[in-house]
Every structure is written in structure tokens, then in C-alpha cells.
Amino acid sequence: MRTITYRDALREAIREEMLRDERVFILGEDIAGYGGTYAVSKGLFEEFGEKRVRDTPLAEEVITGAAIGAALGGLRPILELMTVNFSLLASDQIINSAAKFHYMFGGQPQIPLVIRMPGGGGAQRGAQHSQMLETMYAHVPGLKVVTPATPYDVKGMLKSAVRDPNPVLFIEHELLYNIKGDVPDEGVEYTVPLDRGEVKRAGQHITIITFSRMLHVTMQAAEDLAKEGIDAEVIDLRCIRPIDIDLLVDSVKKTNRVVIAEEGWKYYGTGQGLAALIYEFAFDYLDAPIQHVHGADVPMPYSKSLERLAMPNKDAIVKAAKAIVPAVLAHT
């Protein structure tokens, strides 16, 4: 084991997959000479050359269509879209084609395509550059949508995504690239599945379900709660579609209380979808209504004074948890 950044973990996964399978190649805007806006692909152009590390025109719809076509043609593209916000320009190709070809064409073609892109707010980038859109894509059958939050997971999941025969939307977070975590030594092969969440902190009083950057906020909230005698179990969903519902239900059976914490908007989103599933499959085990911590129901404001208010934070999670954990329980 060693400690590396989320960014380096991503780069290692890409590099190892490119070495393992010559069909794997990467494409995107500013990814070759420059090494990517978030410096994820730095050095890969020098190592693999322009054929397998391709700088594209600034044309999200086209490069996404081209990546789908390349996958149909037998390659394994890893497409980098600069942020999820720009994937909206490609959403037709993603939703109308990538998600549907395998089914619509009777199971014939496979689309082994990975689309990597960061989402998220919190850096005062304004309304058009601060969105979490995993929810939108997670609505669509035929897509896999994952949101790894740690260096270990991001490396292992990217490797699984590259090997998966389906289109995988691999949603990173702008504020996670510099975080550090333990990852097995280079050359030690491991993967993380694309359909399993993980208990990142075991606890008995309450289950807090979260994903992406909010995992780290939630872990801090869990520490605060611990000081007040509330022992929280933190589940990192990791995969938004498919959802590891069994993991959630097992946890709810133990704690009987749930907080869902996400950065995205409230209505019709990942959080509400999760809540509906828990009510459907674990209603009898719930001792309190599910609490939902989420971003304000507005386009992200730019001003730091407003953005801070629009982003969900640690205190909101603590408050939501305390609202449903009775004081008598907290000290058992």
C-alpha cells in the first residue's frame, strides 16, 4: 500500500488498462499535450503517442458519438468530457444511442465505452459549471453510472469500467482530485465492482447514505455525531445505477434510521430515488422518516456568501441525524 491522490489513481488505472489491452485509448479536449484540465492524463501522450491519446475538437456531441462508434468498431474508448456540465451537449448521443443500442438492436452490439467527467460545485464556478448530473443519467436504463469518492475506489472502478461491455458514466468530482488515500502498490492488480456500495464506517444508531464528495463531508459529520454518542454507519453508494439495494436494506435492518446526503438537487433526484427504494424494501424496519440533506433547489449562485448556503454541509447532516435519533438511544 501507498498513499496517492485521486488524480494519480485515475491516471494509473488508465495507464494500466492501456498497457493491458491495446484496444483501450483515450480522447478528449486538451487531454494530450496539456494532460487534461485536471491533469489526469499527464504523461500519457508522451508514453502512448497521439494515436491512443487524442486531443479532440471542442465538440462534445461529436466526440461522444465518435467514441460510441469507435466502441462499435471494436475499440475500448475512455472519453474525457471536461465536466458533466458539458456532457449535456452530448446527452443525445449518450441517452438516445449509447444507452439503447444493445437493447434496441436485439442484444447485438456492445458499447464498451467509459465517459469520465467531473461534476460538483463548491469552487465558485457559477451556475453552468457547478452541477451534479448523475441523477439525470441514472434515470436511463442501459447506462451504468458510478461516482467513486476515494483513490482506492476510483482506480479499481475505472478498471472495471474499462472492462465492462456497457457504457459507463464515470462521474468524478472537481474537488476530489487532490485528496489522498491508500491504494495497493503499482502492479498489484485489483478491481472494484460497478454494482456494490461499501460501508465506510460501521455504526449502530443510524445509516447515512451518501456518494461522491459528500462521503468525506459525511465522515466528518459521523465524527461529530460520535462525540454526542450517536454511532453512525456511513454507506458510500459508489454506484448510482445499478444500486446496491441489499447493502442499504441490511444496514437499515440494523439501525432503523436513515439520512441520505447528496450534493445535488432535491426533487426527483438520486436521494429521493433511494428513499423510495428504502420505503419499498425496508419500510417495516424504519423507526423514523428518512431525512434528506441536499443542495439548495436553485441554480448554483456564484457569490461565495450564497454558494456556501446552497451547498449541503456537515452541520446539516449532523442536524438531520439528530432529528431522528432519540436522546435515549444516543447513549446506549
Binding site: E29, L58, Q124, G126, A296, D297, V298, S303
Partner: protein
């Protein structure tokens, strides 16, 4: 100038001409100073990143907007401060927006990449590359449907030529003869990649396929920009349809304020060459001197005035209050 004009009229024309170029000079200088201050605000951690400075490209916004009326429309980009100022925005409220203050053009909700000012016809900057092509075209459609003689201008960078929407709008604007000018600011880079690595063929030949005339201009020469813009705007105003203006230019700073190490995508020499030989403000100053339209005391006066305005604007914004917390939920719907 026609021979029948009286000497007095000629003198007046000359005065008018002088006043016009000096106003453009002052405006370019204002943008230059504004952007330097924005950069300093970032460097001293008083403003967040992702401000894309317009320094070096001033002649385009100023020259084009000088050919427009206040009620004409523009749409702008992530690199939009120059467009907003040239169309008539005030320095103090621009600073306020960049600092996220209530007094900003968008009450602090927009930020550097999202400034709109309806009073000056600025329909809004779009941080999605190519994002305003359809919108500007639709504004031109409204002009035509209302029977007005306004004109719309769509500013965008060379990178936007990668987006299909640019070609789709030209098709529609030509088909329906919309009063719109597509102004491409070719500063040679899409972020950190030279446009030649992402853009095939001849940039100036593209619009011809739709029957939209293209004029290629030296974007550092404000006189060329202004003259061309005037012709194309007049044409559009008379109902003769859209045009494409390809302005060759250069940005002095990084892609955004945080882009400080640029050596691996462009050389210091290249930057110096543009700054020392192709600076739009210097080029106009040289010409004004050559024409005897100004002297150094006048330049100094303008410099002082601009500096004072920019400094006062910045101070105003630094001291201005942040929006009320209740603003978060305001204005989601009209």
C-alpha cells in the same frame, strides 16, 4: 470625404473622428486596466479563479460595439468582461459582480462568466462554448419579427467553431435573413491547445457554404475592426442578412487567471511578439499621433481618468455588501 463639403463641415468631421477614436482608445484602456485589476484580485486571493481575461483582444469588442447602438443586442462568452464593458457596462458594477456582491449586474449570482445587462443590450455571457449561438440568432429573429432595425452580434472564440451549432445557426440565419453578425475571436487557442490542432481547413471559408459573407480582419487594428463592423452592421440593419467576421487576435494572459505556467503550450517569445508589436492600444495610439489627433498630455489625461475610474470601481466593489442570505432562494422563477 466628398469635395462639396464645406471646410467647416470637414473640420467638424475631423473633430468627430478624433472624438470617436479617442473614445475607443479610452474604452480599450479601461478594459485593459480592469482586467489587470481582476488579475490582481485573483492573485491576492480576493476573487476566485476561472476569470478569463480579455487583455490583448480589446479592439474587437470595442471596435464592434462602437458600430452598434445601445439597443442592439450582443451575446458574450466565458471571456466576456470586454464585451460587457464595450457595450456600456459600468466598471464598478462589473467589479461588484466578480466579487459576488449585491451591487453586481447579476446581484452576485452570475459571476465572471455570466454577466448580463439588459439596459445595454447585453443578453448575457454564456460559459458553455457555443452556448449563445442559438440565443443570439433567436434575438435576431425577434428583431425581424418585430420589424425593428436593431442588429444582434454573437461573440465567440475559435474553439466554438468545433461545435456544430455554429453551422446550424448560420444555416438558419441565412435562410431567414436575420440581422446578425457572428464575430469569431480567433486568439489561436482553445484553452491550452492551438486551434490548428483542433480545427481543419480555412476558418474564413466556412460561412460561405451558407451564403453568409465572411470578412477577415486584423483584430488588433481597431480601425479595421470598426470599419468592417460598420459595414456589416449597416448591411444587416438594411435587411440584407447575416455576416461572419473573423478577427485574428491573441490573449495576453493565460486561458484563465490561474493559468500561469504556459510554456508547454506557447512560448514567451510568441507572447512578447504580440504584446510589443501587435498591441491594439499601442497601434491606435501610434496612428493617432501620426494623424496629429493627439499628443502625450492627452494620453496622460486619459490614462489618469481611466485609472481613477477603475480604482474607484474596485474600491466600491470591495466595500460593497454581499447579497442577503435570503437571495439564495430568490429569482428561480419569474
Amino acid at each position: 470625404m466628398s469635395q462639396t463639403e464645406s471646410p467647416k463641415a470637414t473640420a467638424t468631421n475631423k473633430d468627430e473622428e478624433q472624438a470617436r477614436w479617442l473614445a475607443m482608445y479610452e474604452q480599450m484602456l479601461t478594459i485593459r486596466h480592469f482586467e489587470e485589476h481582476v488579475n490582481q484580485l485573483y492573485m491576492t486571493a480576493r476573487m476566485p479563479g476561472l476569470a478569463h481575461l480579455y487583455s490583448g483582444e480589446e479592439a474587437i469588442a470595442v471596435g464592434v460595439c462602437a458600430a452598434l447602438r445601445r439597443d442592439d443586442y450582443i451575446t458574450s462568452t466565458h471571456r466576456g468582461h470586454g464585451h460587457c464593458l464595450a457595450k456600456g457596462a459600468r466598471v464598478d458594477r462589473m467589479f461588484a459582480e466578480l466579487l459576488g456582491k449585491e451591487a453586481g449586474y447579476c446581484r452576485g449570482k452570475g459571476g465572471s462568466m455570466h454577466i448580463a445587462d439588459q439596459d445595454t443590450g447585453n443578453l448575457g455571457a454564456n460559459a458553455i462554448v457555443g452556448g449563445s449561438a442559438g440565443i443570439a440568432t433567436g434575438a435576431a429573429m425577434s428583431i425581424k419579427m418585430r420589424g425593428s432595425d436593431q442588429v444582434a452580434v454573437c461573440f465567440f472564440g475559435d474553439g466554438a467553431l468545433g461545435q456544430g451549432v455554429l453551422y446550424e445557426v448560420m444555416n438558419m440565419a441565412a435562410l431567414w435573413k436575420f440581422p446578425i453578425i457572428y464575430v469569431c475571436e480567433n486568439n489561436e487557442y482553445n484553452e491550452y491547445t492551438h486551434y490548428r490542432e483542433t480545427t481543419a481547413g480555412d476558418l474564413s471559408a466556412r460561412s460561405a457554404a451558407f451564403g453568409v459573407p465572411c470578412e477577415t480582419v486584423d483584430g488588433q487594428d481597431i480601425r479595421a475592426v470598426y470599419d468592417t463592423a460598420q459595414r456589416l452592421v449597416a448591411r444587416a440593419r438594411q435587411g440584407e442578412g447575416p455576416a461572419f467576421m473573423l478577427c485574428n487576435t491573441y490573449r495576453y494572459y493565460g486561458h484563465h487567471v490561474g493559468d500561469i505556467q504556459r510554456a508547454y503550450y506557447r512560448s514567451k517569445e510568441e507572447e512578447e511578439r504580440w504584446k510589443t508589436q501587435r498591441d491594439p492600444i499601442q497601434l491606435l495610439a501610434d496612428w493617432l499621433v501620426e494623424q496629429g489627433m493627439t499628443d502625450h498630455t492627452l494620453f496622460e489625461r486619459i490614462e489618469q481618468k481611466v485609472q481613477a475610474e477603475v480604482e474607484a470601481g474596485e474600491q466600491f466593489a470591495l466595500n460593497a455588501p454581499f447579497p442577503d442570505p435570503g437571495e439564495v432562494e430568490e429569482d428561480v422563477y419569474a
